[in-house]
Structures are given as C-alpha cells and as structure tokens.
Symmetry: C2
Subunit: 325 residues, 2 copies
C-alpha cells in the first residue's frame, strides 16, 4: 500500500485538502467551504468525514496522517486552536482531538504561516536551504522561520511575527496598535497608504480620479504593468520598506534565503528587485554575502504541502530535529 498524507489548509472561506505521497507529490486536491455558522466541533466532524471519503478514492493507497494549518494562534503540542481573526467564534478548539475521534490517525495542527514556510522549504523555493524565512504578503504579513533545516516555533508557538517588527517606532499606525510595523508598510493597507501618499504629490495616474478606498494591490499591479508611473513607484517603495525589514532579519538571523509569496508578491520583479537591492545594501557585509530573496514557488498549495509534510514527520520522526514538544 502506498502511503498518503493529507494536508489541510483551513482558510476563512475555504478548506483546501491535498493528498501527498512521501515524496511530496500532490496526487489529488479538493476543497470544501468553511462553515462558520455550524458549531465548530461539528465542522471538524464534517472535515474528518470529507478527508476519509476523499482518501478512500485513491486505490492501493493508505492515509497515514493528517496535518492541518490554520491562521491564528495555535498550541502545537496540545493540538489546540486558540483564536484568530479569520474564524470568529472558533476559540479554544481542540482540533487534533476532534479530528482523531473520527479518523483514528496521527494528526498535527500548526499555524498557517509555518506550514507555508515548511511547504516552500521541503518542496518549493527553499529546498535544501538551511536558514530561511518565508514571508506571505497579503492583508497581513505572515512569516515562518526555518533554522538549521527545521521549523522554528519559539517558546509558545508564536515565532515568526515578522509583520509586527518595527521599521519606524514613530511611524505609521498598525492594526496591532503599535507604530511603524512592517505590516503597516507592506501589507495591503500599507500599500494603499503608500499609493495615497504618492498621489498626494500630484503625479498623474489612473488612480487619480478613482475611489481609493476599494483599491486592491492586484489593481495597482495591473496599472504598473500598463506603465502607470505612480503604481510602479508604489511597488518600488513597498520593496524598499520590505528590504529594510529583511535587512534586520539578515543581520539577526543570517539567513540565506527569504521566500516571498502571497497575492502582493505577484507584482514580481517590480517589487522584489527593490527589495533585494535594499536588503543587501542595508544589512551588514557578512550576512549580505549569503542573502538572497526569491519568489515563492508553490502558490496557494504551500500551506497544504507543508501541513502534509508535518504529518509525515509525525509518522516518521527524523533522528535529529525540532519535533513538536
């Protein structure tokens, strides 16, 4: 029987499910809607049943473990989801315990940014890299940290809050209540603010007469691709801010690679060019020698791939490494 591992990426709208071989090949994928109306424990039961049926369609295969990634605060050793902005009402959910009731399989829960980082590290743009971070740019700024080849979780599973590192302690207000966080510059709201600041200088742009409150980074990217100078400047500046923040990571953690994914990263070289230039210039010379910044490879399957990888690691522990405590 071929071993399969399920990776589950629980998002605010959809739950993505993938079945991976031990080699990391995704043999099948599906998704169900995230039902926030139903009591959460019932939703966990539905997820477990879906998983079982979905895996049973793979002939000659045997589901050996399940990894789950969720946005928000988790406790890995307890398999507990504490809370997070995407799932109002889902508080202190014993995710692992509930899924195990239905599945009778090893199950592991992890934070979404951490599984995305693991996915990129094991199968994507961070393959073979010992020390790296994977940054996901979207509404918020997610980050998972891989050090010496292993996921680094920190003292109570909250490591990786790169989005709330300061680049200017008297700077822009962040949603976290603090000033000058990276997220206030390179998250979707931050990018919109940069657009407004540049427009205030009076330059001509397609955005000049638009209602800016509904603009998404995707539209700024499209305008930039059409040659809109303001839009191009938005990405140059966003890259500059991101580069400043990455320079700090390079100084502190001396990582070789920063993998940048998420919707905003679709801007590609317009964003990542200035990011790398700034980061290399602003960090010290020794960490600068080894630093590289690359786009993510796995897109929106990074999370489920990383979650499935964690399940494999649970079933087949490595001799060395940072296992869940």
């Amino acid at each position: 029987m071929r071993e399969l591992y399920a990776g589950v990426d629980v998002g605010g709208q959809h739950i993505k499910i993938g079945l991976l071989t031990r080699e990391g090949e995704i043999v099948d994928e599906t998704s169900i809607d995230t039902d926030l109306e139903t009591p959460v424990l019932k939703s966990m039961g539905v997820l477990a049943e879906t998983l079982k049926q979905f895996a049973s369609r793979q002939k000659g295969c045997c589901l050996k473990g399940v990894g789950v990634g969720m946005a928000g605060q988790v406790n890995v050793s307890k398999g507990m989801y504490y809370s997070g902005p995407n799932f109002p009402g889902w508080v202190n959910v014993p995710v692992v315990q509930e899924l195990k009731k239905h599945l009778d399989l090893p199950v592991i829960l992890e934070n979404d940014a951490n599984v995305a980082a693991l996915g990129e590290h094991e199968y994507g743009a961070g393959k073979g890299i010992d020390n790296m971070i994977a940054v996901t740019l979207g509404t918020g700024v997610g980050c998972g940290i891989i050090l010496e080849g292993h996921l680094y979780r920190g003292s109570n599973d909250s490591a990786g809050e790169f989005g709330h590192n300061t680049i200017d302690y008297e700077g822009r207000m962040c949603v976290c209540g603090r000033k000058g966080c990276v997220e206030a510059y390179v998250g979707a709201r931050g990018i919109l603010r940069t657009l407004k600041e540049i427009l205030a200088d009076g330059q001509d742009s397609v955005f000049k007469t638009m209602d800016l409150s509904k603009i998404k980074p995707r539209q700024i990217n499209e305008a930039a691709n059409q040659g809109d100078k303001v839009a191009l400047e938005v990405f140059r500046k966003t890259g500059y801010f991101l580069g400043l923040a990455i320079a700090d990571i390079a100084n502190l953690l001396n990582v070789q690679r920063v993998v940048v994914g998420g919707g905003v990263a679709n801007a590609g070289e317009k964003l990542l060019g200035p990011t790398l230039e700034t980061a290399r210039k602003e960090c010290l010379s020794v960490p600068s020698q080894v630093l590289n910044i690359v786009p993510a490879k796995l897109g929106n399957t990074a999370g489920l791939a990383g979650a499935a990888y964690l399940a494999m690691e649970l079933v087949h522990p490595k001799e060395k490494g940072m296992m869940p405590r």
Copy 2:
C-alpha cells in the same frame, strides 16, 4: 585525572584565561596583555605556551580542550579569525591551526558575543532556558542567540547582529552607515546623544556645565544614583529604546528570556525596568506572556566560561544539537 577546559577571551587590551571543570566551575583564572605590536602568529604561540604552563599548575588535572572567543567576524568551521575593530592588523588569522600546533588539543574559535551568550546560558542567567538572547551593552551592542537550547550561528557565522536592527529607518545615524540602528540609541554613543538631547530641553543637571564629549555611561549612572533627574531620564529613555528593539525579537523569535550584560547594564533597574515594561507592552500578547528580561550573572567571565563550554562540547559532542559544522 580531572578534566579541565580552557576558556580564552581575547580582548583589545587583555587576554583573559580561565580553567573550568566539566561542571563549569572556574578553578583558576589569569590574564596576559594583548600584544598588537608583535606579529599575530607569534602572539598565538605566546598564548599557547601561557595556556600550557597555566594548566600544568593544576595538579591531578588534564587540559582536554581550548575554546577561544574573539570580537569580530570568525569562521567557526575553519577556525579562522577574519577581522574586527579591536585588533587592527589581525586579518585572516588561522587561530585554531596556530594554537593546535603548540597545544596538540582540540581547539575551537567563536565570536565573543556568542561565547558570552553560551556562558550565561550554561552557567548564568539563562540556565535551563531554551530560547533566549544575551545582549551586551557597551560601546557597541553585542548579541548571541540561543535557540532550542543551542547556540544559533546562522549561515556564515554572523547571526546575532541585534545592534544593527532598525528601530527607525529615518532615525539617528549609526557607525555602520545605516540609520536608526539599535546601537545608535543604546550603545555608549547613543546614550550620550540621548543625554545631549535631554539637556537641550534646558533641565538642570550636573552635566549642564560639563564637557559632554568625554562623558561615559558609568558617570551618567553615578549621577542617576545621586538623583540627577536628567541622568535618570537618560536611562529611562535608553530602556524604552532597548525595549522597543526587544519587542521585535520577542515577536520574531518568541524568546523567553533576554539577558542583558555589559558595562551599561550596571545601571540595573533604572534601565531594565523601563526596558521590560516597554518590551512587554510593545510586543504581541502571546510572545509577551513568556518574555522576561534579566541582568547578566557572570559579568566579565561569561565569555571565557562560554568558550570553555564550547571546548567541552567539542570533546564530548551531544547526540542532538547544533555542533560546529
């Protein structure tokens, strides 16, 4: 025969040498002058001979290994000292190779901030703590990182440059050429600048009529102990800046402890009180729950204790852990 390990802390003026048992007890200490006039390889020979003679005075003991800490850029696996501001002319020195020629013992070279962090972790204020950093406040700001119980070195042995993390990308100029580094606020020069800024507000102080160019943090500490309000405000503000920077570390690495040492840390609670208050307030709630900031315990023996510990680890490798590559 009782096993002894030598820890060597090579400073710009003196070379401190300590002999430690496997339990971490310092059985004897000595120091020699750092001779920057003599060719460096000859100096290494003198150090080796001093070590041999010094260890031979311990009856019934046997020197099993030597650890060396030096300020500046090192390559641990090559045992090579590249360069650093304290030792003009000492460039690309094969420290381990030279000492081994004379000593015929396992020798390991490491950065001074890293050995100080190891010393505090193994024998001092970080004992039993899995995730911590040790910050040394002086002219510069040193930092060593211990993650999951082991020294974290980074991709080319330069991790821990906390002093050059940004708190304000448009802020004070740092000696590294970048703006707004932690060191520009909490290093000795930064503290002096804060003093000048506060004095410019016109408050009364013993420093009002003094030549400020020669003031040291020690004198500001003495004045604060005498109740000088400006001096007290200098430490409050320095603590605030340090706390902001530590909040970033807590967000990113979710460390349980920050050990603060070095001359400036002698200010004690006047400095560390505001540091802890700011750090806990400014970091996110989950990392804040586990964060603590404490003064260093080992004083100026942290470096040699950590260096000796590295030598022990070299002779008796742990099964798990981050060994020198």
